[in-house]
């Protein structure tokens, strides 16, 4: 059984993929205050990459995700651990986060913390896992 290229899917995906990616980043950033977070964000981004693969195949996914998935998982893990080590270095314990907060006119409060790095690590690992699975398990549409 082969998957064929579908113009219908391609038209939909052209709108869906960027929207999903944007949404995934939104979920990643707001996760601490409303539903979302690194895991959910990573899953959304993964769905976007899966959609890319189902539409444009392996070559399409290579262009959309030009990284080695295994390396991505490693980078995500290292990032999460590094976020933990920062807490250790600042005199806390492993995985306590450091915060910095500014109040910017019009936009409001901007909060930057190593927590985001941890969540980003989770996000990258999830994306890395799913893209690994796609590259390893998927057959190309012809």
């Amino acid at each position: 059984m082969k998957i064929r290229f579908s113009p219908l899917l391609a038209t939909g995906a052209q709108t869906m993929v960027p929207t999903l990616m944007l949404f995934s980043v939104y979920l990643l950033v707001v996760g601490h205050d409303v539903p979302g977070g690194g895991f959910a964000g990573g899953l959304i981004a993964s769905s976007a990459f899966l959609l890319v693969f189902l539409t444009w195949g392996r070559r399409g996914l290579r262009r959309a995700f030009p990284f080695d998935p295994d390396t991505a998982m490693g980078v995500g893990l290292v990032l999460a651990i590094a976020a933990g080590v920062v807490g250790l270095a600042f005199g806390g314990t492993f995985l306590t986060y450091e915060y910095a907060q500014w109040t910017v006119p019009v936009i409001g409060d901007i909060k930057v913390s190593t927590l985001l790095a941890f969540d980003l690590g989770v996000y990258i690992v999830v994306v890395g896992l799913v893209t690994t699975a796609i590259f390893k398990l998927g057959s190309d549409p012809s």
Binding site: M1, D33, L43, P69, G84, K111, G128, T132, K136
Partner: protein
Amino acid sequence: MSFILSIAAYVAVIPLIWGVSARFPRAVAPIASLPYVVQLILVSAIALGWAPGGYETIDWIPSLGVTIAVSTDTFALLLTAVVAGIGLLIVVYSAGYFADALKRSRFLAQMSLFSAGMVGVVASDELLGLFVFWEITTVASYLLIGFDDEKADARASALQAVLVTTAGGLAMLAGFVLMAMASGTTRISGIVADPPSGTMVSVALVLIFLGAFTKSAQFPFHFWLPGAMAAPTPASAYLHSATMVKAGIVLLLLLAPGFSTTSLWLWAVTATGLITMALGAFTAFRQRDLKLLLAYGTVSQLGFMTALIGLGFTAAALAVLVAHSLFKAALFLVVGIVDKATGTRQIGELSGVGTQMPVVAVAGAIAAGSMGGLPPLLGFVTKEAAFDTLIGSEAWLPLAVIAVSSALTVAYAGRWWFGAFASTRGISPVTAARPKTSMLLAPVVLGVLTVGFGIDPRPLADAVKGAVGQSVKLVLWPGFTPALAVSSVVVAAGVWLYLERGRQTELHPERRTTPLPRAADVYTASLRGLLRTADTVTGVVQNGSLPVYLAVIVVSVLAVPAATWLFTWNPSISLPVWNQPSELVLAVIAATGAVAASRVQRRMAAALMIGVVGYAVAGIYVVFSAPDLALTQLLIETLTVGLFALVLVKLPRRFGAEPRSLSPRARIAVALFAGIVVVVAALATSTVVPDRLVADEYIARAADAGGKNVVNVVLTNFRALDTLGEITVLAAAGIGIGALVRPLRLRRKRGEAS
């Protein structure tokens, strides 16, 4: 902190060694020697009172009360001086020994890691910290013994050593935990100051003995040490003179003040030591390989120290330890020089070497003489002290065993030196290449120390007294005492034995002397048995059928709670059938999906139906206002169906008539069982009045963590370590997919080619 930092320096230079090794190979040895030099300076400074010593601690896991504590008492300083001093000499030696720059860097880096562990072991005053350092030496010794990793026997020897010592180390860890529970502290100084007693302590001691005996190659675990001779000579010289095998002795010395008066200690440690000493000396005498002879000699000497500690003579044991470190390191290094210069280290193939390299021969003679216990060398002084202590306490049986073994020691020391250096009739003289000066330094320095401390043992006597609080009679000329008489008889007997038997090249090394199985054979047999059992179990459990795997997992996960309910069943379930009508609708959708998934004939349809079940469950989460769960559930279901689609296109469209590994009846039984258990679990958990404490605490503290979404605050703050663990599992699963798919791909490619 200075002492802990000086330990960390060993690890800190490793990346430096790595960094310079390619471009500046000449800089490697000087860089590698830095931490040893620093530590020697620090040790002397603390000993002379120029630098503050004392107790240094790092809180490692404060919530569990685990700290790393090192104390710079005389005991730690003396042993650190031995470890770092001999380490430094071996760094210099290895600069000449390894011609290949890359190998040299690798060796020095691994040795540096090992030294960090070893200094940690001798200075630790905290059981768990000691264990960690102990295992660092185990891992590093694995690398060092298996250094020639292209040789199968080196790898096998390294594996044997690491398996034996790790097994002992695990037993020791259990012993440490029991000991800490019994005494209420993990500080060794605290434990021995107020030693606990009772059955638990006896069990703990036996477990700790296992660790010490495996590490220090005591009978019946001695066999890994001769095997470890596959290591390059500098590694052997370091591991089997001053370090590694001394770790067990050090541990016994640390615990002896608290427990050496118990009968368990007296019998277990003394008997093990005496058997090991006699067995080692006897086996050493029969060896032809100069290095193997030294290996068995080391086993024997370690038995000597163990026996002395068993009898409570810690000062004598420590003195013997220092003497042994000095002469055994020199002996190994000398063998390395002879081996490099002539290409052989077999007795019977070497002749006339001594005249060609007189310096090496003299250094070898000093070391061998010290091993045999000849005056005026340190080995004589310490052995004399041991005899004196044994006679003083009228320990006649141990004295007899030690005296006989010492006579054998004299004999094999003679056999070693004459085998290596003498001009023997009947063997054509070999030509020896000139040894490098850097390789000569270490044996010469060690020889000078052996003579120096032999002539004036007072500094050593003071250090030993300060270290273990027990005085020992370390003097060169004791006067005409019973100990001197024993020594004289021992040396005379040893010389006679050498002249009578030791000059033969072949001493029936393969002849079995006892009907008992050899320890090494027992090891091999048990390892093979373990592998075979693992093979059998894997064959049964991993039979390649996915339904069987699933059934095993589901049933075993659910059987445990189900079994407990059978005994503690409390039927007080009163639940409304539904809270909101929408729940009923969702439940019907989920049930329909589940039934449909099991009935449809096309695989893709089944996958979609499972997706329906998942979406319905997500809907239920929404009803119960758990948006995070619902979001994740929806996303997971979507992705799962998508990933299913990827795989399913490679499989037949329909569930076929292919033979099933699990009969429909068995499947129904498993499904029913799982369904019932889950329903009962759901009912049981929802009737329990929830303990709000944890939830309220989380909600109250979420604001402190700077988040409004408690669910994610729990995930990323309160239980961040769990999340880190989970993403590690995800990454491992990703690697697993690769590992599973690659062989399939390869097979298919090969199939296409053929």
